[in-house]
Symmetry: C2
Subunit: 390 residues, 2 copies
């Protein structure tokens, strides 16, 4: 996908049903690196380890397990995270400090690290420039499909690539929401610049998606740049070109995550405009996108716009109810705070049957606008999460 990177994924025995649960990314030469991490104060051991190591701005490998979050696991958890990195470093014959570690799965259970240790040699043997789908599969938890997005850009006629892999179907909230995301690129860029564009892209993409409003303890997004394309990201035009591609890749990944949200049957953009500020628009979009009542109505394909106005009204932002318009797709369902009647409702119901659509809320009070991507809330979400550990 992206030159100079190799991938592997296999089953080490952490997952009960023998699915792939251990993945590796190897950069043939050390890459510049930047990361963003969960804002949850309860942080998994690998997150704490990576937050230290990433400060050097160099990474040559990332080892990732699913099936166990290695979180709330105390001193043993930290030892296990360090060991995972060391086993990879030794097998690959690279510096231990250049290995990053990530975990995802059940919180609070001790990691069966011996299984990982035993599997690392085979994992390294399996490394392959074309192995990305094995890697993408190995980091899945309740995801039903692997998520990989790759896009090419070019700068002064020279092409470069940005490839991203992500997982996460629950515990997703727009507060650095991604669970795990790894982005590989072949541009030349300083770690500090990588950090800047990654934070900026995250704000516009992964921080605008929600599935269930819970923030993971393991959220990690890493950006690795190995420089092999020879394209240097420096100066406004180059930064913008790179930023645009990175944004596009992360937005696509974010939508894939929501689409594959636990039990989700619909991908819905909640787009607020006409707010007094972007911040106000965002607060309203977030409140609507998180409302269980709105989300269950979406699942029921019920154009229950009253619940949308109810959520707007409790968002903590001053609004003029009798000015608000609400659209499902292109169908105006609410005009100046009042329903547009049966005909509009029938048309709106047709929109709701689609797998992907936009709910547009126009407050007509200013120029602030913001979008959030959410999904519906289905019976299966509850089923999946009631028995997650069994």
């Amino acid at each position: 996908m992206c030159q100079g990177f190799q991938f592997a994924g296999l089953a080490s025995g952490l997952k009960k049903k023998g699915q792939k649960d251990l993945g590796l990314i190897f950069c043939e030469q050390p890459a510049h690196a930047a990361g963003v991490f969960t804002r949850n104060q309860v942080k998994a051991a690998p997150v704490m380890l990576d937050m230290q190591r990433i400060t050097a701005g160099i990474c040559q490998a990332v080892i990732v397990n699913s099936g166990n979050a290695n979180c709330c696991t105390g001193a043993k958890g930290m030892r296990d995270a360090v060991s995972m990195g060391r086993w990879a470093a030794e097998g690959l014959d690279i510096a231990e400090k250049h290995v990053l570690v990530a975990s995802t799965g059940v919180i609070g259970e001790p990691l069966a690290a011996d299984r990982i240790e035993k599997a690392v040699p085979d994992l390294i043997k399996a490394l392959d420039p074309a192995g990305i789908s094995n890697f993408a599969e190995a980091i899945m938890t309740t995801d039903t499909v692997p998520k990989i997005v790759s896009q090419k850009g070019n700068l002064n006629g020279v092409p470069f690539t940005v490839t991203g892999v992500a997982k996460g179907a629950g515990m997703i909230r727009p507060d650095m929401a991604t669970l795990l995301c790894f982005i590989m690129t072949d541009v030349v860029a300083e770690p500090s610049l990588l950090k800047e564009v990654l934070v900026s892209a995250t704000r516009r993409t992964l921080n605008r998606i929600t599935i269930d409003g819970d923030t993971s303890t393991n959220d990690t997004a890493l950006l690795l740049a190995n420089g092999l394309s020879g394209v240097t990201v420096k100066g406004d035009a180059a930064i913008k070109a790179f930023q645009d591609i990175l944004d596009a890749v992360l937005l696509s990944l974010g939508k894939l995550l929501v689409q594959d949200g636990e039990g989700a049957t619909k991908l819905v953009e909640v787009a607020v405009r006409g707010a007094e500020s972007e911040c106000a628009a965002r607060q309203i979009a977030d409140t609507v996108a998180h409302s269980n009542l709105v989300k269950t109505a979406l699942f029921g394909e019920d154009a229950n716009w009253g619940r949308i106005l109810g959520a707007v009204g409790r968002a903590g932002v001053p609004v003029e109810t009798e000015q608000i318009d609400v659209f499902f797709g292109d169908v105006r369902m609410v005009q100046n705070g009042l329903g547009c009647g049966r005909k509009a409702e029938r048309a709106a119901t047709e929109v709701l049957k689609k797998p992907e659509f936009t709910i547009r809320i126009d407050l007509k009070s200013g120029n602030g606008k913001a979008s959030v991507f959410t999904c519906d809330f289905s019976v299966d979400y509850v089923r999946i999460n009631a028995d997650y550990r069994s």
Copy 2:
């Protein structure tokens, strides 16, 4: 239940299946009155009407319909709310301004007010001092049982009564959360004092319950005092005696609401202690009590304490993870941020099978404490809310 009050409830045809949907409370003599209302900026017409009328501090009747919230219904909605009050006033031969109005049900649909007008004479004929259960039934929406709590107190040997009726099984969040609640008492009290004790009681009771985290547009709690007991609430001791009984009635009603929450199978108290302040404790209790992941695990009877710590960590309050203890009932499941192992888990799972229990979270950082009542989040919640309008 409480001397000097009469009640009625019947089916006026607002609900599709012919259930009771129109209720009336009549105070044989004008009562002093106070109210608290939703903080949602989108307010139903009857809420706006009551907020005006309650300022006079007098009420002699309350007319309530279910099946339609009369919210987001514009000028017609306000005319309908006023008409409901007028029909009751004319039939009862009392001052129109002394009638309060409440509605609950679907938001955004025009009220079939003609059905109410036609039913009011029968409603008045049905008034009965023993009619409270008909009234309680008539205000139900997705509630499966009527909720009535009555308690006696006494002051200097003279008994008085506080009787409350409430409804609400969804759109319940601890931000003046009750949907509809009517409290009748026979004490003598000034309206301003009634307001004070009602606000205070609400803060400790109805504002400490959550079902789904959405705030209703129609929340209304009214306290009516007709003075017939001759007991005067004045002076610290009397106020405390009255406050205690009112608190007890509202706490019982609040628990009944959560217990009957949409799809709920469990009533769970989330009790936080050892926080740096009451406010911090409350914020953590709220976050845990609202977490969909915690609530679905409760439904699955899964002692998934990692999700509880995950919610604690994202509550926006500084915490020391490695100090936190978590108990399910009396079973310590987490000690100093780490799980207490299989044996504790088995015992905790037994607690989770009960219909009512406490999750205790001890932060060991101070003296702040707070409790919130919540319920589990079941497949039926989604089912109920996906098809609410059909």
